[in-house]
């Protein structure tokens, strides 16, 4: 039995400990906003926050989560920080097909939590584990910069 926190609620998992966190989140908890783009840790579509830091859930075994706190977009989207990111992503046109978006938001949150006023280079670095094939990234970089300015004091 593994006990961990999922979107701020204590949950238990009583299955195969080597299963991918990605599958557990999607199949057992119905959290389908966590996407599978590659299954090999390369694209970031499956990114979640584990104790506040971005992790690729496709290469994380559920068994390694004992006592840790997992946050997905489902839990995060009620926060004040999310609202700022939401506005900024809309304004900057940072969402096209949307498949990379949940992972990008997770990466943005983890970046801003650590560094509330990142430089452009730091933003690029912060989302370099998240692939986006639609936007060319610059509008996502704009969105995160905009969020850091609009959301002063939130992070």
């Amino acid at each position: 039995m593994i006990e961990f926190y999922l979107n701020q609620k204590k949950v238990q998992y009583d299955g195969e400990p080597t299963r991918r966190l990605l599958d557990v989140l999607r199949e057992d908890f119905g959290l389908t906003e966590v996407k599978e783009g590659c299954g090999e840790g390369e694209c970031g579509a499956c990114a979640v926050l584990i104790d506040g830091k971005t992790r690729q859930s496709c290469i994380t075994a559920i068994g390694s989560l004992e006592g840790l706190s997992v946050m997905t977009l489902e839990g995060y989207k009620h926060s004040e920080q999310y609202k700022v990111l939401d506005q900024s992503f809309a304004e900057a046109g940072a969402v096209q097909c949307g498949f990379c978006t949940p992972g990008m938001i997770m990466a943005a949150q983890s970046l801003l939590a650590e560094n509330p006023e990142p430089s452009d280079a730091e933003i690029r670095d912060g989302i370099s584990g998240n692939l986006c094939r639609c936007t060319g990234y610059n509008m996502i970089v704009d969105a995160i910069r905009m969020a850091s300015q609009k959301g002063k004091g939130l992070w």
Binding site: C38, C43, F89, E91, R124, R133, G136
Partner: protein
């Protein structure tokens, strides 16, 4: 009228941002079974036998016997849904195992034994002498020009495979209920899939329903391919009576789905004694892979694009799609044009170099087409061509001329280079396809609560048509955008307004929406249910003849100029992007932010094509099987772009809009190659220009100097 180009929040922003939107892998349908494809591992072989393992009840084999007409209807239907006697490429589907437990399904797939008898295989363009498609055209006195020529210069250019690399892999779900087949899938063209499933399952069209699931990127990769997997899940659902889900893994998607055609393009120019161009010849060979699919149409566009943005006294173009025993190639943003533009832009530069002209732009602009000029196929550029204005803008933003001059004399390890490319994109289908085959229909429905629903078969795959379509109707009718409703197409609800391809959606379907909105506005009765339908009307054009490649190939053209600046570390042969400028004429942008998104995304995809996106076929198998070895750009590989769209409204499009989506990928590769060539001081005639290739070229040059 307020400015239509002013951006609004996208119609589907909230559902995508919150992660609530359902992509194909997110559907949970009670009783759903999983499917996994059994693939052949020989490039070319006769299948002697297939042995399936003993399976538990509830597990099924689906193969050619379950498909009444075993062909994927694309243009012809030469590719089987499941191979029967022969396999033609590594990864070709032989069967599919279906059942409730995905782990068991995978295990059964592993246990299938296929016995082959190997047949001779052509594994590359060079090795093939089998032309699946051939075309030829000539306009003007070409033979004469080459006879008269003071000299003839010939160069050859090569471009590689490119994988669309949409972040959402391919996937489809099939359902069967009361004699009705339903396919839900990540796709661009619901009616293509409907046609294919109707044909393969040999059922009446009314009994096939296709629904688009929100599509996580497509770029052409979901134009033709979903027809194949749509047939597979349809056959499986019909046989098992259960919903069947087929979702590709990345490695599978990367190695077996259609890609951009590799090309070999030979150009020659006949020059007079004053170094003027008398005539041009181009010979284009595309690697079609194992099945023809859309390759013939891709070749048509390549060949028409062969003249670039230039007016030559005469031109002759021949083209062939060669059959190889490799993964079939198909649609990818640009559809044959990126290969040709890479080659013609490089060729014009190399001609200039050859003639001792320092700045290739000086040479190229002498040949720019103008309004009223005839096209390579004897049609007409009948609308304003604003290349000179665009060039001025490009120059003033990028300071190209001054940099190009400064970078000519460099020494030291790090050297800079700058390149400029000129390109166009014929908007919409080639020739008369809109009139002869597509015959688009759209519908507006006004409900008693006065909300208006747009019914079209156009899919939003991220390019934003839900928003731009809604804006067109809202603007015409002077209604708030929230009163306009648009959802993913379902062929039971929407008329056939054609596929979402060829940069046709906004210009063609958008125009029909504009017309319908005008009518609905004039007939508007508040609180009443109303419907308005509009049908495609062909514009005045020089009739297109495919046998001679003559006439107007496109109703109009969109235009672009790209400037790219790089720095090459000559020791490690690594290239760093420094600056990117993109100037475009798309008529009028229906939404500035959406347009910028198309530019930024398309241009970076083009830079990837030119630089890092190398795909190799070794022994018939695609070597790059993941995003760790097929390298698409990350946020760290790019820089801020400077982009502009200049207004040049086109009557035939809504609010003056022309095609835009594909144009944006075309100019990056030639501009990038030109910049690398200047910085590294070696000719670039092949893409992707990876560090390994650049290093080899620089070494070779050094050896040559000694």
């Amino acid at each position: 009228m307020v400015n239509i180009s002013q951006s609004i929040t996208k119609k589907d922003h909230i559902e995508k941002m919150t992660g609530e939107t359902q992509y194909i892998a997110d559907y949970v349908i009670p009783g759903m079974n999983h499917a996994k494809i059994v693939r052949a591992w020989r490039p070319h072989a006769r299948i002697k036998s297939v042995r399936f393992p003993e399976m538990e009840t509830g597990y099924f084999v689906i193969d050619y016997r379950d498909v009444p007409k075993n062909g994927v209807k694309i243009i012809r239907s030469e590719q089987p849904v499941f191979a029967e006697n022969e396999v033609r490429f590594i990864g070709e589907a032989v069967a599919m195992i279906v059942g409730a437990d995905v782990i068991k399904v995978n295990a059964y797939v592993e246990q299938v034994k296929i016995e082959y008898e190997d047949l001779p295989a052509a594994l590359s363009l060079d090795a093939s002498d089998d032309a699946m498609v051939s075309y030829h055209y000539a306009h003007g006195a070409v033979t004469d020009a080459f006879q008269k020529a003071a000299r003839v210069i010939e160069k050859t250019y090569y471009t590689g495979h490119q994988e669309q690399a949409y972040i959402e892999p391919q996937g489809a779900i099939g359902l069967y209920q009361d004699g009705k087949i339903t396919v839900i899938a990540s796709m661009q063209c619901p009616y293509y899939v409907k046609d294919a499933v109707t044909f393969a399952m040999d059922v009446p069209a009314e009994s096939v329903q296709i629904i688009q699931s929100t599509t996580g990127g497509a770029f052409g990769g979901k134009e033709d391919y979903p027809s194949l997997i749509g047939c597979m899940v349809a056959a499986a659902a019909k046989k098992t009576g259960k919903p069947v889900r087929l979702i590709f893994e990345r490695g599978e998607d990367m190695t077996v789905t259609t890609k951009r055609h590799p090309a070999q393009i030979v150009y020659s120019a006949a020059l007079d004694e004053h170094d003027g161009i008398l005539g041009i010849k181009a010979d284009i060979k595309l690697d079609g892979g194992a099945y023809e699919g859309l390759s013939g149409v891709v070749l048509q566009r390549s060949m028409i694009a062969a003249a670039g943005v230039y007016r030559f006294p005469c031109i002759e173009v021949s083209g062939q799609v060669m059959m190889t025993h490799t993964v079939p190639n198909g649609a990818f943003r640009g559809f044959g044009a990126p290969q040709s533009f890479f080659a013609i832009e490089r060729f014009m530069t190399h001609l200039a170099t050859h003639l001792g002209i320092q700045d290739p732009v000086d040479f190229k602009k002498r040949y720019f087409v103008k309004q009223g000029d005839s096209t390579a196929t004897g049609g007409s550029f009948r609308y304003p061509v604003i290349l000179p204005e665009m060039l001025e803008t490009a120059e003033s933003l990028s300071r190209y001329t001054e940099k190009h001059e400064r970078y000519r004399m460099q020494t030291g390890r790090y050297r800079k280079g700058i390149g400029m490319s000129f390109f166009l994109h014929g908007c919409g289908f080639t020739g008369s396809a809109e009139k002869d085959y597509i015959k688009s229909v759209i519908k507006l429905v006004k409900y008693p609560d006065d909300t208006i629903e747009l019914l079209t078969s156009t899919t939003d795959m991220g390019q934003g048509v839900k928003t731009t379509f809604a804006k067109i109707v809202a603007e015409v009718m002077a209604l708030p955008i929230d009163q306009i409703k648009i959802v993913n197409p379902d062929t039971d609800r929407v008329p056939n307004s054609g596929p979402t391809v060829a940069s046709r959606s906004l210009m063609i379907v958008g125009k029909l929406l504009e017309r319908a909105a005008k009518r609905l506005k004039s007939e508007y009765v508040a609180g009443k249910y109303q419907e308005v339908e509009e049908r495609y009307v062909h514009p005045e054009m020089v009739p297109w003849d495919i046998t001679s490649f003559s006439g107007d190939a496109y109703p109009t053209y969109s235009w672009g100029i790209n400037v790219i600046e790089v720095e090459v570390d000559t020791l490690l042969a690594e290239t760093k992007l420094i600056g990117v400028w993109g100037i475009f004429d798309v008529g009028r942008a229906i939404d500035e932010t959406i347009m910028r998104g198309q530019i930024e995304g398309g241009m970076l995809q083009g830079i990837g094509y030119a630089s890092s996106e190398k795909m190799e076929i070794i022994g018939g198998a695609v070597r790059q099987s993941g995003l760790s070895d097929y390298i698409i750009p990350t946020a760290k590989d790019t820089v801020p772009f400077v982009t502009r769209t200049l207004d040049n409204p086109y009557d035939g499009g809504p609010f003056g809009a022309k095609g835009a989506g594909e144009l944006t990928i075309i100019g990056s590769a030639p501009a990038y190659a030109e910049a690398v060539e200047q910085a590294a001081g070696v000719p670039v005639a092949i893409i992707p220009m990876t560090p390994e290739r650049l290093l080899a070229a620089m070494k070779q040059q050094k050896r040559g100097e000694r």
